[in-house]
Symmetry: none
Subunit: 414 residues, 2 copies
């Protein structure tokens, strides 16, 4: 079965933007036992779009078009696919009425060109878009006597991902032979890629039937393990055996055994322990709090805290004595611990986190260089404080530091 | 002139790897006045490669193939392009002799399949590879009576980049009219894509020589304007004329006229006014502070603030009276204003920001639904408070809310 993914949008033909949706779709297609054979990127140009659509429909059993479904004159995907297939577009009046209603509810007048979002390929099913306005389309047809599946999906990732999982995956699963494929994602925190791979390679090389990909970035290393076998159970057993050996090797540095994010794992532990968290962060500037609160329901265990960027605010919001800052500097073990302990106390939390450091590019000294950070975590009985020196730009230092903070919270809760 | 870039390699059809060479090539091609019309990714499969090569050669004046030039059985690019063009591959014996010599010098026996690297498309020029072993090829030919330029380049980025700049760019420069290209990026805050496009389209359509791409997301709409003309000055003048008309139309909703981010613009204004900022945020959970502190040097104007996720912390860190929360609810205009005014006062800042809302997915009620937010900004003399209802998931609501906060700060400083 040949699958092609077509990403539509002139911005992806500039040096600045790339299609990333195809990575998500590839992962999902692989999960159904379908490989991707072609990926195409084409701009918002009708002739080019028709050419790309014709090529895809001629060579691929499944053609997935992403983007170009919005309300503007640049949104030409419907028109191009109809032309390539040689079918008509029909305006769905029920949908138009609903769109008018939705605008009216918000006391807005609907721009007229919005109605083109209701133009449907002859024979296609309309796919609702719970995360946005542009609906998708699903068409099962034949082209040159061969069966063809054609999907039109919106470009914004969260819209596309939701629509794929709710609408497309179940439809496609009925069309392909049940595949015996199994996968796991293991994640290791706060280690470098080469250090991890040096220890991991002798293990995963013993499992030639498991495809192992090692990905590193932002303070974590991920193992993507995939196996195909005669049955799903066999494939899963093979993957689980390798995952088990890797978990033994990396022990408590493995924070996720099923692909969860570090935020999700912290949230899981916090709820399990029925504990409350507060943070006082300097160089991460809110990133620790932002990551924690990105998890739905975090208000059940996250109280809040302070972004103590200036020294005065370290004193005002986290009772750090000015003399301590004078004696040790704002970037010091002592200040990190004081931030953690005092914010815990003040907020009435069970766990307190304190972060201080030099994110750069400016502000470094011989003694305290850019990338030096201190992170402290306390539960009121004992505290842990870690000094690290991270390399790279401001964004990287902040990201690794927030990762360290979350990982220390996880370890304290374990 | 239509250009297509074809990236070859099965690893780029997995969920984990992406072609990035095309970004480099696009930047270089744009610099010669050539836009990229199509990008294709195809695996190491002869049939698929021939299909991709046929499609490219049929529709593109310039087809650049990247990868698949090595010595292994997976390296099929030469063979596929020859088949697509209907020409022979001729083994270059001088090159084979040189390869044998190079191996002999290192006292190694050359693997036999290495010789395929000397297979040259009929009529092609061999491009030396100073950074690796696989040579490239450059072919100027005709296909279906149309002139065609075909380049075969190695996949490793440093090999490809060097070969492009030394061998290909000078050859291509001779083939295209001397072009001068100019670009600008304008950004508009807090408006929807269709509302913006409805007003913008009549303007940019008056400038058919300027390629206009409208990109929307995360609370902003971007206009990417690019023009090609006889001279750089002419191209720039055309782009600037259109940019000027768009700035007139959208007036102070345009926050960036040179592609700067909203964070950078706020930073610029804060420094210009020599003012200090503090924030008290609830539903954004640190995102406003995190975005502000992502700008290098933000410690010069950002003091910090509080993430007041729980009601108690709204009182503790921002003096919001519990009775006010009881009377109006934590998500209310009154609380947003109190957060802004009190955090400004407490921190000794010039500007205070208060954010409260319901990010979802839980926590919404009939009266106060998910997506309802209040953002207040004050300078001590006057305040501005805005109520908005954002749609979409938790991440989207938080992102738009932080965008609104930053935009209100910008407007207060203007």
């Amino acid at each position: 079965m040949i699958a092609e993914i077509i990403a539509i949008g002139s911005e992806m033909l500039t040096p600045y933007r790339q299609d990333t949706n195809s990575l998500f779709l590839t992962e999902r297609l692989n999960g159904l036992g379908i490989s991707v054979s072609f990926k195409t990127v084409v701009g918002d140009n009708l002739d080019h779009l028709i050419s790309a659509a014709r090529t895809a429909i001629a060579r691929a059993d499944i053609a997935i078009f992403m983007g170009g479904l919005g309300p503007t004159q640049d949104d030409l995907t419907r028109e191009a696919v109809a032309a390539a297939l040689g079918v008509e577009l029909k305006r769905d009046n029920t949908m138009v009425t609903e769109m008018y209603k939705r605008f009216a509810e918000r006391r807005l007048k609907m721009p007229e060109n919005n109605a083109q979002q209701a133009d449907v390929l002859q024979g296609a099913v309309i796919l609702p878009n719970p995360k946005g306005t542009a609906p998708g389309q699903w068409l099962e047809t034949t082209y040159a006597d061969k069966p063809r599946i054609i999907a039109l999906l919106p470009g914004p990732p969260h819209e596309l991902e939701t629509m794929w999982d709710i609408e497309c995956a179940p439809r496609l699963r009925d069309k392909v032979p049940p595949a015996a494929i199994a996968g796991r994602v293991l994640k290791v925190a706060m280690m470098g890629e080469s250090a991890v791979d040096l220890r991991a390679a002798p293990i995963y090389k013993k499992y030639p039937n498991v495809e192992t990909t090692v990905l590193a970035g932002q303070g974590q290393v991920e193992f993507h393990l995939n196996a195909t076998a005669a049955t799903k159970g066999e494939a899963q057993a093979e993957v689980d055996r390798l995952a088990g050996e890797l978990e033994d090797e990396f022990d408590d540095a493995v924070f996720s055994a099923q692909g969860e994010s570090l935020e999700e794992i912290v949230s899981y532990y916090m709820q399990m322990r029925n504990a409350k968290l507060a943070v006082a962060e300097s160089c991460t500037g809110g990133m620790v709090a932002e990551r924690l609160t990105s998890v739905p329901g975090s208000s059940r265990w996250f109280l809040g805290g302070a972004v103590v960027y200036s020294n005065d605010l370290k004193t005002l919001f986290a009772d750090v004595p000015p003399l301590m800052i004078e004696a040790h500097g704002a970037v010091s073990k002592e200040v990190a611990v004081a931030l953690a302990e005092n914010i815990r106390e003040l907020c009435g939390a069970d766990i307190g986190v304190g972060v201080t450091g030099i994110a750069g590019p400016g502000g470094g000294t011989e003694e305290k260089p850019v990338g030096l950070v201190y992170v402290a975590v306390t539960n009121g009985h004992k505290h842990e404080v870690v000094q690290r020196r991270f390399f790279g730009d401001r964004e990287r230092v902040r990201r690794w530091t927030s990762q360290l903070a979350l990982d220390l919270v996880r370890r304290m809760l374990m």
